[in-house]
Structures are given as C-alpha cells and as structure tokens.
Symmetry: C2
Subunit: 220 residues, 2 copies
Amino acid sequence: MHVAVDCLIFGFDDNELKILLFKRRVRPAVGKWSLIGSFVQLDEDVDDAAGRVLAEITGLKDVFLEQLGCYGQANRDPGFRCISLAYFSLIRITEYDRELVQRHGASWHSVSKIPELVFDHGQMVEDALKKIRIEARHRPIGFELLREKFTVPQLQSLYEEIYARPLDPRNFRKKILSFGILNKLDEKDMTTSRRGAFLYEFNRRKYVQLSQTGFDFEIK
Amino acid sequence: MHVAVDCLIFGFDDNELKILLFKRRVRPAVGKWSLIGSFVQLDEDVDDAAGRVLAEITGLKDVFLEQLGCYGQANRDPGFRCISLAYFSLIRITEYDRELVQRHGASWHSVSKIPELVFDHGQMVEDALKKIRIEARHRPIGFELLREKFTVPQLQSLYEEIYARPLDPRNFRKKILSFGILNKLDEKDMTTSRRGAFLYEFNRRKYVQLSQTGFDFEIK
DNA sequence: CCAAAAGTGTTACACGTACACCCATGA
DNA sequence: TCATGGGTGTACGTGTAACACTTTTGG
C-alpha cells in the first residue's frame, strides 16, 4: 500500500488567513489545485516526511507542524490505493522562501475562497480549519502566524479571522494582556496609523509556566 | 509499506475506566500485552478496518469509534516497516460479547494500572486518555460508556474517573441537569443504597439541538 | 434506630460582556 | 485642524465554587 503525507500550510497576511495551494503537475488530475505531498520513504518517520515536504517547499525547519489525521478511503485516489497522512503547519509568511514556493507553482489562497481541490483535499482543509479554531481556544496557537514583533490590533485581527467574527477591542486587549505572556516593547509600528501602535513580543517562557497549570485561552 | 490499525477499547465498570488489552500470540513479542490490531486490506477503507477489528473482538457495531492518529516512526516495529493508525472506542461493558473477548485472550485493565505494552502502544494509550479528557469537556462523551439507564451518582463517578478528581455532588447535579439532555425515569436503581437513586436516560435529540448551537460541557 | 447513599439551596466572588470617549499623530 | 486608528474604564449580569443538612429505607 502506498503511504503519502500531505501538508496544509497556513499563513496570515493582509488580515486574512491563507493556505498554500499547488497546481498539480503529475497525473491524475494534472492542472488541478491540490495540497503538496510526498510518499513516505521506507526508512523515514512519518512525521519526518511531513517536515521534509514543508522544508522543501518553504525552506523552513522547526516550525509548528502537527498531524491532522489519516485519510484512508479505499477509493480516494483513482490511480492506486494510497492513504494520506495530513499534517498542518502554521508559518510566518514573511519568513518563507518565496523563490522555492514559486518554483513549485504554489500560491496563497484566502481560506474564505478556496478553489475546488483534488481527491479529498477539500475535506482536509475543512477539517484543519475546524481543528485550528478549537486549538486556538486552548493555547496561543496564533503566535506562530505573526512576526516576532506584533501589535495588539494585529493579534486581534488574527483571532477575528480564526473565529470568523468580530471581537471587542477593549475586552480583547484586557484578556490577552491579563495572561502576562506578552512583553511590551518600546517600539511602535507606524505603518497602519498616524499615532502608531506599540509592538509586543510573545514571552514563551511565561506561557510554558502557565500552560502547565492549565489555562483557557478562550476569547469572546 | 505495511499499514495496520490498532484499537483502544475503553469501558467503565466498578467505577473505574478500563481498557481492553491482549496477550500477543504472534511474533515478535509473543506473550506481551498489547492492543489488538489488524492490517488494512487493499480494498478496505481505513475506518472500516478499525470497525472490523472492533466487531471481531466485541461483536459490537455502530458504536463510538474515532481516529486517534497515525504512529509512524520508522523503527516502531522491530520486525518490518509498519505504520499504525490508532482508533479509540468507548463501549458499554455490559453489551460486549464476553465469549468473543475471552477467545481472543483479552482482559480489562484499569487505566490507572496499565502493564507495560509492546512497541508504542503505551504511548497510544496515554494519548487516547488525554484526548478523552479534552473531548469530555466539549460533548457528553461519557454516555457511550454507561448503560441506557443510569443514575446521576453513576454519571458523576464516571466524570470523576475521567477527570481524575472529585466533583461536588450538588454542583455536578445542577450543571448536568441544566443542559436538559437527561430524561428522569420513574424507576430507581436500588443496588447501591437503601434509598435508591432515580434512573435517567440520555435524550439524544435534545443533545443534537444543543451541540449545533455550541455548548460547553465543562464541569468543575 | 442506625448506617449509608441520595438529594437539595444559598451565598460570595470572578469573570465575561457590553458599551463611548479621548489620545496621538501625519498630512 | 481633521481624519484615522490606538488605547482606556466601568457597571452589570451570569455562572462557578464553596459549603451542610435532610431524606429514605433496609437491616
């Protein structure tokens, strides 16, 4: 039986959650949109295969990469029997290697307008978004998608995009700062307003402390 | 590459959460404790393979059965390269076929005292318990483990077992009844006290209504 | 009448939610 | 000086958490 991994690579740009999609170059379904994947090598851990695909496309290593699940319907690939292990990754769009991506015929698509995808890849995307929305409530998953330095309004618009609904700026700021996992910097981001917005960075050490005692990241 | 499914079958009895384990009869590691599994057939959906294994052992169909994840380290099985898709199931211990289970050399083990398991099966059990604890907070997962008719104290002790901590009986009863998904019956269970405890049944229709609008099952 | 489990209410506090105005700045 | 996004505080209601006694009935 053939065993493949498929990678769902998410990024955040222009206040939109985006996913990296590819024009298929191999049969069947040449020219259709799909996720990118690869077969798992005989001497390779499945997790490593996913990491390899991600690195080949984006040049990134050691980023958020998590197993989504196994897609294993007998008839899912019309060619031959093949099961796929879907992985999803959250990356900083600013850090990926644009040249590598272009060479693979990839492009970013807003998750609110995803074209038709081959096989069961559409289902994978749907499942991944569901999982991201759930996980975002229990840990600060979103930080993986922002730059090292970010403003509170940027963080808010990311959460608004993930939850697909508007959030109150006062309540959002109060809650997010109350966790004590953000360090306020002396710099301001002047690109989006005349007044400028203070930049923050994520304090990973404090977060680890907090998550061990168990905390709820839910924001309403 | 070989592709297998392994089933984690959980039940609830004597106020303890239990898992069905097997004495291995095939090489390698004959005589060691393990989960039960099977290879996925070429023309078989992976989900169906898990259902088949569950039915072969317990005689049960159409019960709670969910994918846990893929365990795919290259060296996980010392024999040959094999990835495993772990599934976990929650069953009513009273409904399984004891004869079938005995014929397969299986026995129930409290999750608080699990023997050493072959390969990465111990990791699977650990991961499944973690997932059950998380899922129990978002939907009434526990009902799959109780009989059709059950008392509030029974339900409470199940939740105490899943969360591994005591709960306040007044708060528990108040919260669980406030969801409106339990039907009180006219019967009493007289087996655990002189006074007897009223039996309830789960109102699946009301639950579906409620879960569509999204609700939080968390109990503190 | 005693033991043992079932069942019930209230109060204090924390947290979530709703809501409107001033601030800082570049153009 | 004005337009634009950034930033702040409070009051109210809901829900959680803590807590002790009465009820029932078989032995």
